[in-house]
Amino acid sequence: MANPLSDEAQVFEKIKKENIKVNPIVWHLIDHYIGNDVHAMQFIAGSHIVGDDPEPIPVDHGKKILHHCDEIRKFLIKLKEATREVRKD
């Protein structure tokens, strides 16, 4: 996990206090794209590391994990573009 933001507690407090919600359409996208990529990475890594007989992750499987990371990055860029506030000035 990334280092916590210095004002993270206040940000979460603001979200709670002002009842800030994420639109369900956006949640659905996040859930589908990021959810699937994260699960795929967890299973790929888990199939080598988790269990009684752990082994190093082979390079080609590491590449697949990197691919899923990249897919998440691309999705976040796309989502950021789509949800960018349009300036009216």
Partner: protein, 134 residues
Amino acid sequence: MIEKIGEGLTIFILDDEKDICQFVKEFFAKRGFEVYTASSSKTAFSTIKKIKPDIALLDIRLAEKEASGLDVLKSIKEKHPGCCSVMVTYMDDEKVVARAMEMGASDYLKKPLMPPEIEKTINKIVKKIRKGVK
């Protein structure tokens, strides 16, 4: 040494994430199962009709809007009632899991899928199949 618990058994996997399909396929193939996969409900219906699996591992949430893993479960229960279905769900899908169990699912697994949990659940089902109890 991995025990070939799946010898003589066919398993079908439905997941819209192709890497998950591939890795779960390898996982079961190593255990002696004959494995078939699909990443959409349409392919699932035709594959199931053709292979008549002993076990089906069905992701409930699919990318498509037209159908979900529950529709595939329904079709399996109608056409191949002998097949044991294991539903794959997300953490917040309790109601859907309850619905799937009512519809006749044998068990369920929560994402993220981890090999020891899959193994435990499938071993339980294989034992029932071998004993003739489903």
